[in-house]
């Protein structure tokens, strides 16, 4: 169903590459949703536009949107590589294996896979420490909820999403011991109807703050309609919930994309693993709503500043796993390896984590 746009774009891509000037560096991007989703794919596209802005005619960028995760992605990537792309950004977790497979066939093309953990000589991975942002909005959520129930719309049970739930929960719990998280898995990155249904289900069961880890602003729209609170995800989403929106986690990919394209142009590109957070600006916290009391705003800002300064780690012990076993001892902080592969809930999160 969704492959129409992909198909048309891929064809257009093949033609546009065919007729391009040789000296240009070509950067390709594939998105899991439309760049107009005002969420995840939108911010990646903003990053692409930042590359265009920075390099002007020296770089040509192309993108294919709404590419399903799986075999179809491999076809699109092959098409891009054949079309002469020098560097290709694959911007969703599910593109991991397709990226590796296609990269093996095109050793001279550089690949950059977002949020994954498999690398090769010509495949880098990059991600943002969204959990740092989750910590900040978790604090706000814990302070703001009146029903002590926070609804969480989750996409797929992968480490990145689980980490977000745990980080937000621990932060909320630290300021509000009575807080409860209700997690609903929708098994899609973008399906506005389903995201809206999930938001409604959570609201019916008493949630008065909604967090989401899906790509469309549907939940924000519903939160506004139902008069509860929510946070922008990946993008600010202010226009969808002028009253409901408390703050947001904004992904800022532009600087990273510019760096990497520059490295390709200079011939200095090497396979790396980048995981940046609030400090370098890859994760931004959106402006606080006036609804948040000044002291809570100050508390959230202080947390963000401390994370940026490196004096606060969102996962600092003592933290137990959901089954009660000890994960982090007093004062111990989580290492990146465990965080990158996080496949367990922390103590206090209810429900079973789908495996």
């Amino acid at each position: 169903m969704k492959f129409t746009t992909t198909l048309i774009a891929a064809t257009a891509l093949a033609f546009s590459f065919g007729g391009a000037v040789v000296s240009q560096t070509k950067a390709g991007f594939i998105y899991v949703g439309p760049p107009t989703d005002f969420g995840w794919s939108y911010e990646h596209d903003q990053g692409r536009l930042a590359v265009e802005e920075a390099f002007g005619d020296a770089v040509e960028t192309t993108y294919v949107d709404t590419v399903p995760e799986g075999a179809d992605a491999e076809r699109v990537l092959t098409q891009m590589a054949l079309g002469g792309a020098d560097i290709i950004f694959t911007t969703s977790f599910g593109y991991m294996d397709p990226t590796l497979n296609v990269a093996a066939k095109f050793p001279n093309v550089k690949f950059e896979h977002a949020t994954g953990y498999k690398r090769a000589d010509n495949v880098s991975t990059y991600s943002a420490r969204f959990y740092e942002g989750r910590h900040v909005i978790g604090l706000i959520a814990g302070r703001m909820t009146e029903t002590n129930t926070i609804g969480y719309i989750a996409s797929f049970p992968i480490p990145e999403v689980v980490r977000g739930i745990n980080a937000a929960y621990l932060a909320a719990k630290s300021v509000n011991p009575d807080v409860k998280f209700k997690v609903v898995w929708v098994y899609t990155w973008i399906d506005p109807g389903k995201e809206a249904d999930a938001a409604n289900a959570l609201i019916e069961q008493g949630a008065d703050v909604i967090m989401q880890h899906t790509d469309s602003p549907a939940a924000m729209t519903i939160a506004e309609e139902k008069g509860i609170m929510a946070f922008g995800q990946a993008s600010d989403m202010m226009q969808f919930g002028p009253t409901a929106r408390l703050s947001s986690i904004i992904d800022n990919w532009g600087p990273y994309y510019i760096d990497r394209v520059q490295a390709v142009m200079d011939g200095t590109w090497a396979s790396t693993d980048t995981w940046d957070g609030i400090a370098p600006g890859m994760v931004e916290i959106g402006a606080f709503s006036d609804r948040i009391p000044a002291d809570v705003q100050a508390e959230a800002q202080a947390a963000a500043d401390a994370i940026a300064a490196g004096t606060l780690h969102p996962f600092t012990g003592p933290i137990n796993k959901q089954d009660g076993s000890v994960w982090l001892a007093e004062g111990e902080t989580a290492d990146d390896g465990t965080l990158a592969g996080m496949n367990f809930y922390v103590e206090g999160v209810e429900g079973e984590l789908p495996q």
Binding site: T5, T36, D37, T66, P192, G193, N200, A201, E204, F240
Partner: protein, 310 residues
């Protein structure tokens, strides 16, 4: 397990909301199939309705005009299908699939400048007196206008097909187009009418998604609802009343699985997510188990090309 937070009243209210777009699309497709035409382009017509309804609502600030635009857009797209299959005698299955692909692409193109906008507020209709009834009032009489309208359409379709002469003719065309033709009925024009109606209903269903259920525009936002509608027509064995049952059952299971997850029930979410589809398949198997009955219900000329050679 604490079920006290599971509010059956709210559950039914959101069930109806999730089911209405599918119901609208399915009842339209039912009429099309009753006339002997299989249009697999429901998804494409829905998404065109979704963007047309959204765009016109935003431009005119009137949800009513938006709904009207969705009807017209869905019907226009359907008429392209009608022209190809009825006049140029193209294969219905291939043409229908192409219509879906075309609709999704065209809607994405048309919708580019409409992402991130808010439509005018939806058309709520609290039925006076009845909506004040405890429980039942909230459950059944506090919906938007389109919920009641979709049910009215089902009643109208039932009445038309089973109680009017025109409905009888339409069914005759679907059962045996050669016989209907030799009796002097204009098979092609009757089918064109049915196809346009099907498109109009699908368009309306799409507009329901973009104007009421989510209120926003996102590419591909109907997310497969058109295919579910097609399945529900078979599920209902081409009977209008059963379309309501099918659509509400599907909507119900979808909503229930999300609610059960929020309750923290100990079943893997993957199973819960597949239940609506699983139940649709199971019921379709049960329905078609009795071969004689199933074949009695399906319009005999369904999907066949009509060529007036004599």
């Amino acid at each position: 397990m604490d079920f006290s937070t599971l509010n059956p009243v709210a559950l039914i209210a959101s069930l109806i909301m999730a089911a209405t777009p599918i119901l609208l699309a399915a009842i339209g497709e039912l009429v099309v199939e009753k006339s002997g035409v299989l249009n697999l382009g429901v998804e494409g017509m829905m998404i065109i309705g979704a963007i047309a309804g959204f765009a016109i609502s935003v431009e005119t600030d009137s949800p009513w005009l938006g709904m009207l635009a969705a009807v017209l857009a869905g019907a226009s797209l359907a008429l392209i299908f009608g022209f190809l299959t009825q006049f140029l005698l193209s294969n219905q299955v291939a043409t229908g699939l192409a219509l879906t692909l075309f609709g999704l692409g065209l809607a994405a193109l048309l919708g580019q400048s409409y992402s991130g906008m808010k439509p005018p507020s939806s058309l709520r209709l609290d039925i006076p007196v009845l909506s004040d009834l405890p429980i039942v009032g909230e459950m059944l009489f506090r919906h938007d206008f389109m919920v009641y309208f979709s049910l009215l359409i089902v009643v109208g379709v039932w009445f038309f097909l089973n109680r009017t002469r025109a409905g009888l003719v339409l069914r005759a065309v679907g059962e045996n187009h050669n016989a209907a033709h030799s009796l002097g009925y204009n098979v092609v024009m009757i089918r064109m009418g049915a196809i346009a109606f099907g498109g109009a209903c699908a368009g309306l269903g799409g507009a329901y998604v973009s104007l009421i259920r989510v209120p926003q525009w996102t590419e591909g936002m109907t997310a497969g609802a058109g295919w579910i509608a097609l399945a529900i027509v078979v599920f209902a064995s081409w009977k209008p009343w059963r379309v309501i049952l099918g659509a509400y059952l599907f909507g119900g299971v979808t909503i229930l699985q999300l609610n059960l997850q929020a309750l923290g029930i100990g079943i893997s979410a993957a199973y819960l997510s597949m239940t609506p589809y699983l139940i649709t398949i199971i019921v379709m198997v049960i329905m078609s188990a009795d071969r004689r009955r199933a074949s009695l219900n399906a319009p005999a000329s369904l999907g066949q090309i009509f060529h007036a050679s004599h």
